[in-house]
Symmetry: C3
Subunit: 164 residues, 3 copies
């Protein structure tokens, strides 16, 4: 089973996804953290997330090689989050086609996955070319996940709407 | 009963919230306006809102002391809007923790409340530090309201989706 | 019957709207393309859309005179997209009131319409005056469509939530 939690910044999507996988999983789930820490503001965010998951998860940190990391997991995995992984891929100048191919391969793994992703497209088109590139890639990735996941939840105000 | 209308700019959330409270209320409801008028563009927006509510509401204007203002109300209150109150709090440099504590106290009042709030997080992260601070605070406030309200409506195109 | 597909950038709304009209229509539907091509990035987007619709539609390109173009159509029409038409109207400095009046007239045509529109308001208020004007107009147009359409779908991750 693949499940997607998609929503905005501070929509509660990470907390909802964590609660969901902990409730579903029969064994201790993996927590695949894709953050690459670039500055203090980000470090603070990461530490808040780390505190929350304490001993409930087996934590793996992998900002780039998502497929390889997931292939090592023996049990359900929370991917937190796909947006940051996409961001890192763009940072290392991986072509969009390769990124989406890797994501598609991830979605065809047999393990249970809970994916967290930011919806970033509900605004005017950015005047920044890199931002536009990211928004496009993010939306294409979301569509791929929407297609392959059996369940999709749209998150706002710490609540969910079931899309699929 | 506490009800939240959350949505984007010009999503119709204010109009929907007004129609809702007027339909529900047995006595004339209060209209708590949190706008602080800084410029002409904003004045125009405020006046459009004022025209619409005419004599249907008892209007109170309070940009900052939300809890104190609500404690004076004897009947259902429309809070229009929480986002602007958060914005004003940040403007007066109230610490985030205190802001959220005041909001939590508001949500524990016994009176019927209809809250209007902007969902501002469905976009890329802003390159402006103040905007990022506001988006984070706004999302945390939304989660608090989502948790305490019995009903939550997500608004777009003048329509609602019931989240709770 | 009037149907609105509203969603973010790369939410899949165009693809969903195309699939919907092709499934519903008994005759070959019209495709009213409102894009005006200003640069190479846009040309690429347009060409991707064109490839996808190949021979399934009767294509009309009309960036500005939406009502007049629709009055020529004898059968169901996909309007792709309303946002771009609004953008073009602002570019040619048509007053907002006239734009919304033309849209209202469009919504009162007797033909079957499937409308694609961007939800652009789920972010912080832009510091760019033109962007704010566009976001406001876009939201007002969305509310008008939400009111007149019999069906409204909110799109994210290539999926829909039925709002109406």
């Amino acid at each position: 089973m693949k499940t997607l939690f998609i929503g905005g910044i501070k929509s509660g999507k990470s907390r909802l996804a964590e609660a969901y996988i902990l409730q579903q999983a029969v064994s201790k789930p993996y927590y695949l953290a894709t953050n690459e820490v670039f500055d203090d503001e980000m470090r603070t965010r990461v530490e808040i997330h780390q505190q929350r998951r304490r001993d409930a998860f087996i934590t793996i940190e992998e900002p780039v090689k998502l497929l390889a990391a997931l292939q090592q997991c023996r049990g359900p995995v929370l991917v937190e989050c796909v947006s940051m992984w996409l961001n890192n891929q763009l940072y290392y100048q991986i072509p969009e086609k390769e990124i989406l191919q890797e994501l598609e391969a991830v979605l065809q793994l047999s393990c249970d996955l809970v994916l967290v992703h930011n919806e970033v497209g509900l605004s005017v088109v950015s005047d920044n070319r890199l931002a536009r590139q990211f928004v496009d890639l993010s939306g294409k990735a979301a569509q791929l996940m929407g297609q392959h996941c059996e369940q999709v939840f749209f998150c706002s105000a710490g609540l969910t709407m079931k899309m699929k």
